[in-house]
């Protein structure tokens, strides 16, 4: 089977990879491109560990075919920090201890980043609803929600 050549933009940089037609974007990111920060928890779109942003839309990478990345713009967890500075969400997750084992954390942070891009001032209920597609087995969700709301407040204050 001929492999497909895909050209795309990942975390602001042009990227290309070869993939099988049936391969998932998750597999291409992790195995083809070595971007293993995006995690595989279920491969059925239920756990959110593989959350990425494609053309501004939050998606589970396990339910996107790799060839669909052609010509798109993709953001993964590796693209959130800039230089030696963490993304405010990453900093707040640390301060609120909003992670325990950490394997769901990249998915939560990417999903929360998509939320704050779309809605800089979310209510607690909106935040909980938005993150309902991400599963955490260790910490409970409360610290995660607090970290996201605190980040939103921090970003708003910084912008003033």
């Amino acid at each position: 089977m001929a492999r497909l050549h895909i050209e795309t933009t990942i975390n602001g940089e042009p990227a290309e990879f070869l993939c099988d037609p049936h391969e998932t974007l998750l597999s291409a990111l992790r195995n083809g491109l070595g971007l293993t920060g995006t995690k595989e928890g279920c491969s059925t779109g239920d756990c959110g560990a593989c959350s990425v942003i494609v053309d501004g839309r939050l998606v589970p990478a396990c339910l996107v075919l790799a060839p669909e990345a052609q010509g798109r713009t993709i953001t993964t967890i590796e693209g959130l920090s800039s230089g030696d500075a963490l993304h405010p969400l990453q900093q707040k997750f640390l301060e609120h201890a909003a992670l325990q084992c950490g394997v769901c954390t990249p998915g939560f942070i990417v999903a929360a980043a998509a939320l704050l891009d779309a809605k800089p001032n979310p209510t607690e209920e909106e935040t909980r609803f938005w993150l309902a597609g991400n599963l955490c087995r260790c910490t409970g969700y409360d610290k995660i929600i607090r970290a996201v709301l605190d980040t939103a407040a921090h970003i708003r204050e910084s912008a003033v």
Binding site: D20, R30, N31, G34, L35, T36, G37, T38, K39, E40, G41, C42, S43, T44, C47, A49, T76, I77, E78, L80, S81, L86, L89, Q90, F93, L94, E95, A97, L99, Q100, C101, G102, V103, C104, T105, P106, I109, L135, C136, R137, C138
Partner: protein, 531 residues
């Protein structure tokens, strides 16, 4: 006995040492590593919960281009070794057969063969070409069927350990034990109120977000290196060595970051398969379970059937308890029913009791540890019955528990005298808390229950090195199960009275560089550092 003291660092909440790696996606979990030249492994699993294996033909898989090795149960030696394991002991023959079936498959998803190939897709497709002829047998999926006189038998040679004299014949009951004190019939005779209830719980999976994953390399010299997600690298080393027939000194295990375990990542499922595939192919072999495989073929906790009878005097004193516990072991013996029996009434001072506990094999995956293994089901049953006593006597559920609470110096139902277990102050604190009496809103309820577990570190070790700048480095054999590094660092900082200590190596310490440490030790360390 611990002496209360003021802590300077223990109990504080510094940013975790592993935090930045985990929020940036840099932390490397089981499936995140890749080794040069590695192959990918896939497992063929049984579509039957109970069947005899008539024949296995791997020739079509072996002929598939890209396939470098195929293994079945016959590639693994018979082992009779047993391995002491923290809060339990494991029979390695059972672990080996649960990992890959020999003559019978005993649960849906039981591995029967594994393939290593140049890509995962090739390995998966080749595995599906393996022809297995099964003779399906009636599956035994619950306690009642398993203990029925005409039940299908999972293991023809199984005998009931602890059975009464004269018990003979094939059985699915692997063991029976009793705990007793006083005269239970006399106790019930003096009771003013008696409740008797039966409870059932279903098997439940630990549900860690990270599926099992490993890479193994086994060279011509018979030495193996295994990278894997595990709560117990030394268990993986010793179990894998025994199962594949290597000297434990020739197996080095490198634990990855672990994406949740909850007791379920102590047993080996993939590692010995990957070692033997690698030895055959002379290439590293990576194996990663799908979520489906995790749920079908790795350890849940026991489903159970529990009968409880409690008797109390009108003044609220519990005077008698009788309980029967049947726990599903899964396909191989070893449910945590013994711990369930020990924990069931451990919170209460009951002068007369009789508890019997049965370990029952059924056609489900072999159970694994899961958060105080065995205790939650017993607590669910006993605490529900205690609440019923409170209802009958029309007393506050916390008051009833306070009246019967075990205290320091009381004798545990399983033998020793308690140290400072803290139940009484805990109950008093809960009773004073405003939440206990706050008015309830619509769709709100309120309940109270007590749980019991033994705190044990088992064997554990740490190496602390003082650096030139006065900081300290800590190396232990524990993987970081979600805060272990910082917990250990805080304890070292406290004891050495220094501000900073780093246990950054903790999770990446190979078995060859640390001393044997039990999986229970990591949990125990966390409990001590974050009181």
């Amino acid at each position: 006995m611990s002496i209360p003291r003021e802590f300077k660092y223990v109990g504080t909440r510094p940013i975790r040492h592993d935090g930045v790696d985990k929020v940036t996606g840099r932390a490397s979990y089981g499936a995140d590593a890749a080794w040069p030249g590695m192959l990918h492994g896939a497992v063929l699993r049984s579509p039957h919960a109970h069947a005899r294996i008539v024949s296995i033909d791997t020739s079509a898989a072996e002929r598939t281009p890209g396939v470098r090795a195929v293994v079945t149960g016959s590639d693994f030696p018979e082992t009779t070794a047993a391995l002491a394991l923290g809060e339990a002991a494991i029979d390695l023959r059972d672990i080996s057969e649960s990992m890959i079936a020999r003559t019978k498959v005993l649960y849906h998803g039981h591995a029967v063969a594994a393939v290593a190939a140049t890509t995962f897709d090739i390995a998966k497709e080749a595995a599906e070409k393996i022809k297995v002829v099964y003779e399906p047998l009636e599956p035994v999926t619950d306690i009642d069927r398993a203990i029925a006189p005409d039940a299908p038998i999972l293991h023809p040679t199984l005998k009931t350990k602890g059975a009464p004299e004269g018990a003979t014949g094939p059985t699915n009951v692997a063991s029976r034990l009793e705990l007793k004190r006083g005269d239970v019939d006399a106790g019930f005779a003096e009771a003013d109120v008696i409740v008797e209830r039966e409870f059932r719980t279903a098997m439940v999976h630990q549900g860690y977000i990270e599926p099992h994953a490993c890479i193994a390399r086994c060279g011509e010299d018979g030495r193996a290196v295994v990278w894997c997600t595990t709560q117990g690298p030394f268990v993986v080393r010793d179990a894998s060595a025994a199962i594949v027939g290597l000297d434990p000194a020739h197996v080095k295990v490198i634990p990855s970051e672990i994406g949740g375990g909850f007791g379920g990542k102590i047993v080996v499922y993939l590692e010995p398969l990957a070692i033997v595939l690698s030895r055959k192919a002379q290439r590293p072999v990576k194996m990663v379970m799908s979520r489906d495989e995790v749920f079908r073929a790795t350890g849940p906790t026991s489903g159970s059937k529990i009968r409880v009878k409690l008797g109390a005097r009108r003044d609220g004193r519990l005077v008698a308890a009788r309980a029967s516990l049947w726990y599903e072991a899964g396909a191989y013996r070893g449910s945590p029913v013994g711990a369930g029996a020990m924990c069931a009434i451990a919170a209460y001072k009951i002068p007369n009791f009789f508890i019997e506990a049965y370990d029952v094999v059924v056609n489900k995956p072999k159970v694994a540890a899961y958060r105080a293994p065995g205790s939650p089901m017993a607590a669910f049953a006993v605490e529900s019955a205690v609440d019923d006593i409170a209802r009958e006597l029309k007393v506050d559920p916390i008051d009833l528990r306070l009246k019967n609470a075990n205290r320091e110096g009381d004798q545990a139902p399983y033998g020793p005298k308690y140290g400072p277990i803290g139940l009484e102050p805990l109950l008093e604190t809960a009773r004073r808390h405003p939440h206990w009496t706050a008015p309830l809103g619509p769709n709100q309820g309120r309940g109270f229950a007590v749980g019991f577990w033994f705190n044990a570190g088992m064997n554990s070790s740490a190496t602390v090195t003082l650096n030139a700048d006065g900081s300290a480095a800590v190396v232990t054999g524990n993987p970081d199960i979600g805060g272990t590094r910082v917990a250990q660092a805080l304890m070292v900082a406290e004891e050495l009275a220094i501000r900073s200590s780093a246990s950054d190596q903790a999770s990446a310490t190979p078995t060859a560089a640390a001393s044997p440490t039990s999986p229970a030790a990591a949990a125990s360390a966390m409990r001590r550092a974050w009181p």
